[in-house]
Point group: C2
Chain length 630, copies 2
Amino acid sequence: MKTKSQKLGIYNSFSLNEAKINGGFWNERMENNRKKTLPAILDQLEKTGRVEALKQNWKPGQPNRPHIFWDSDTAKVIEGCCYSLATNDDEKLEKKVAEIVDLFASAQQPDGYLNSYFTTIEPGKRWTNLRDNHELYCAGHVIEAAVAHFNIKEDTSFLDIACKYADYIESVFGRKRGQMRGYPGHQEIELALVRLYEATKKKRYLKLAQYFIEERGRKPNYFDKEAAKRGETPDTNNPHRVYEYTQAHLPVREQTKPVGHAVRAVYLYIGMTAVAIATDDKTLLNASRRLWKEMISRYIHISGGIGQTLRNEGFTTAYDLPDESAYLETCASISMALWGMKMLETELNSTYSDVIEQTLYNGILSGVSLDGTKFFYGNPLASYPGFNGNGTFISDDYNYRRNDWFECSCCPTNITRLIAQIPTFLYTANDSLIAVHQYADSEVNFTPNDIPVKIVQETDYPWDGKILISVLPEQTASFTVALRVPGWCKSATLKINGRKPKSAYNIIMGYIRIQRKWEKGDKITLTLSMPVERIEANPNARQNPDRIALKRGPVVYCLESADNGRGLNHIYLPLDPEFEVSESTSGSIKGIPVIKMKAYRKKTPAKNDPLYSPLGSWSYAKCSVTAIPY
Amino acid sequence: MKTKSQKLGIYNSFSLNEAKINGGFWNERMENNRKKTLPAILDQLEKTGRVEALKQNWKPGQPNRPHIFWDSDTAKVIEGCCYSLATNDDEKLEKKVAEIVDLFASAQQPDGYLNSYFTTIEPGKRWTNLRDNHELYCAGHVIEAAVAHFNIKEDTSFLDIACKYADYIESVFGRKRGQMRGYPGHQEIELALVRLYEATKKKRYLKLAQYFIEERGRKPNYFDKEAAKRGETPDTNNPHRVYEYTQAHLPVREQTKPVGHAVRAVYLYIGMTAVAIATDDKTLLNASRRLWKEMISRYIHISGGIGQTLRNEGFTTAYDLPDESAYLETCASISMALWGMKMLETELNSTYSDVIEQTLYNGILSGVSLDGTKFFYGNPLASYPGFNGNGTFISDDYNYRRNDWFECSCCPTNITRLIAQIPTFLYTANDSLIAVHQYADSEVNFTPNDIPVKIVQETDYPWDGKILISVLPEQTASFTVALRVPGWCKSATLKINGRKPKSAYNIIMGYIRIQRKWEKGDKITLTLSMPVERIEANPNARQNPDRIALKRGPVVYCLESADNGRGLNHIYLPLDPEFEVSESTSGSIKGIPVIKMKAYRKKTPAKNDPLYSPLGSWSYAKCSVTAIPY
């Protein structure tokens, strides 16, 4: 637990050394990530030439021509490896990380610059197209990886590389004479620089992050200026292709709704929040809060996914919530969880933790297959035949499915580093309070007023709503335990040491706050009632006026044709359905609760039945339906 | 009425000299087209440089750089002008046509080649990229315009140009030594060459059409060969980008379902049908029939529009019938009507004429505004906020709307030539039968066994189902009058000279056939019952399982927010709605029947109402709803 002096960052998050998953749902996902996903992705990094690219010896005619994104992929995987090493020793993995860090070292130029694409392929083009070329984005991921490496390994070898690169970047960009007044087309470095500042305490990194954030959206637009310098006509015909797309349409403090590319947007918002906290900047934090509220009130899908369309990989209009054409990139869901955690440092409010939960269980996890080796880039709410996730028509009988890898593989590399850091999403604390945001079989150590306390959660969440929390102070200690009552939960019961509290606890901003003198072995039992709920969308959402979503606890359920045959859209629930929740007895989801119900469906048409007919031409038959977690 | 010797083309269609609209619905549309649309489009041709381009004196740096499509736009408008001149004298228009024909003459190269783009901009690139460059497509439209000019004006000035160009094309393409084995990436010339053959009786044009049709889809693929010649890697990764997109994935006789770009596909099918008829090729006709059946059973929208998606401007999978994202290009609807007419030459079957009606009243007419000066390119079934028809995000409050013109303006130029030739869609005939396919205030002259007969229709169709047909032979004549009973009509009553026929007429393939000795002044009264119908889609169509379409007669109705406020998707009809049909009393649709009904709608949400809530959170209120013709 870091100690903060800022006024805005009143809660601290925990590192992987302090918070641990002990078992249950997330243990399985993390083990899977460690044993299957990470090795599969490391293998892809090698196979596709991403690691080799760092040797900077690619020659025309050879396969695996380096690409502008590649360093970010490699860096994200190293970051994931470091998180994994924090929870599980693995000599082989440690060696692999050391090897790749050495390659990053060898790829660094004398001046500090580090980008395998530009050094090898376009050496003269450094910083000539910040709008499209992802150099500062890649730099951000290298920095994040180095910070993770430093935090876990207590070794500065990678951090030194990152600092040297950041120092160089700081010399290039800024408002001083001779410096470039640019900022990244794809945000990421802003939040990374704040992390570098936290790791090194060097203020110049924070100031550089602040500069990138404050400079964005100033007029005349930097991307137009650099385009003109390249001899190109700025694409001013359609500002949405440039300004909104990169959130450079307005100074960040004036931005009031999410626009453009979703991942870029939220990486910016995380950076804004991080800078606001680190610099005690209330108005910048308010801008971030305004954007959060707008996002979750009008732009987020029920899965916690964001970025409604493939067209700009981002936002469209408020309340536009399509099913099939929903894009909802895995990276965007991940960014929402990371943003939520940053916001939770500033206030104890379940608006953040509810969304983190929503996206962790639905929008993020859907991005990786149960076996951990196949990935979604977009996570639509309904499968559609014919097209792949990039909108390319494959064949009539093609169904949208997970892939081993992508040419642009930001999502697989992002999800592996996200799952490896799950324990950091569970708790925040300060000197007098510990907040339990996410329920999971886990433990955390914290020290209110210098008294070491261990908190242990035992639960089968999210499949069961009962959570047993043991409070284990080394000596009697007075502090508050705050427990989130999820927004979806209509009935929560609390017992302390087996007894109902004498007076009912108020729920403040979504949290029950239990303030008392805790004795070693005090036990809190929280039971969240978890019936199957039918959820409908706000009528401002024009899609799906006649559909409901099935949810149980935080988990959105879905129908698959594997269980229910084809024609899922023609299944109709009765007005008062009876839901039967039982553990699946077979296949990859054995033991997981599934929802069964009686329903109706339209008769399956014969081959030559007409395409259009008067209402009533199709009869309905009773059927049994099984829903499984999305 | 042309006389045919072929075995397959057993019915003839009528020219604009033989069939005329006298009043009513189509008269208004044609007058509008003549007085508003044609002048507006001619003006755009001038303003945008399309006419100027034919002077072939564009220089770099000047505005209005010629484009590969442009000659086709100009040619289609000339074709439309000629049809208009066939029905209405107009000295000014005649002069304009002559001017532009002179420009086409001046643009023709000594060898016959005629393309303002390639001659001016890329003189060395002639025929180097048949896949993308639309040269043969433009040639086809020049030929069609010349044939129209010849048919109307009995003057060969434009026809000679077209023949010279076609002769040159015939020397370039074919299977002889030294010839190119290519075929167009965008079909059109096939059907145009058959028209040129019919106008000139020169077999070589028919043979060239036949060659283009038979060569398509042979392996190795020609487009790959020419790409290799250009030094490009053929795009074999995704065959749908090339082979299916251009219907070059298989020899045409082996094609069984519509694929790829919709307009290209149907122009090919029209060409196949025309060649099949002109060469008595039964297997080729069967291929065309198979494609028709597949199209109307699984691919056509309720508006008669085809080509489900913008992604390939064409077909996706069977039963994929989206509303908002439906593309349904105006040109594709037009092509369906033209194909249907060609098919009607081969059999008297309302499968063709029903679709022609469906697309004329819905998918085609939606492409032009009531005032005749604004156009849709795509014709989605529901408006969606934010994006324009090309999928480009404009702004939050942008709503899909008609435009004055497009960079690629095939649709406005196509719809003006289509509406100008409406009378040709009404009737077909042979020596012993005249078929009335479309009901409209109109007349036609035909000559069964050399006896001149005039048929006059009086009707307020499509707003009223009563049709009065006067049969006016110069002397008593024995022949059959066949009247289509539309597929949507559940009850048709027939009277001849005011009396019900003694025995009920059978309906054969959708037509009542009345065979008798006709006396001058015999009157047929056909009354088609036209209640409001609620139509539902085949359950194989996954979209809209809970929605109905409102139709009255052939006209699909829709709800607009102008009449009904926002939130159209949250309007619910009762199980047994009462529809009230009344004439609109105001605005641009004054006098046109609108449908009113009582319905329910969800309460309008407040600004901060949640995005998702348990079922039942939203109450319903009664409301009145007005539907107007789509």
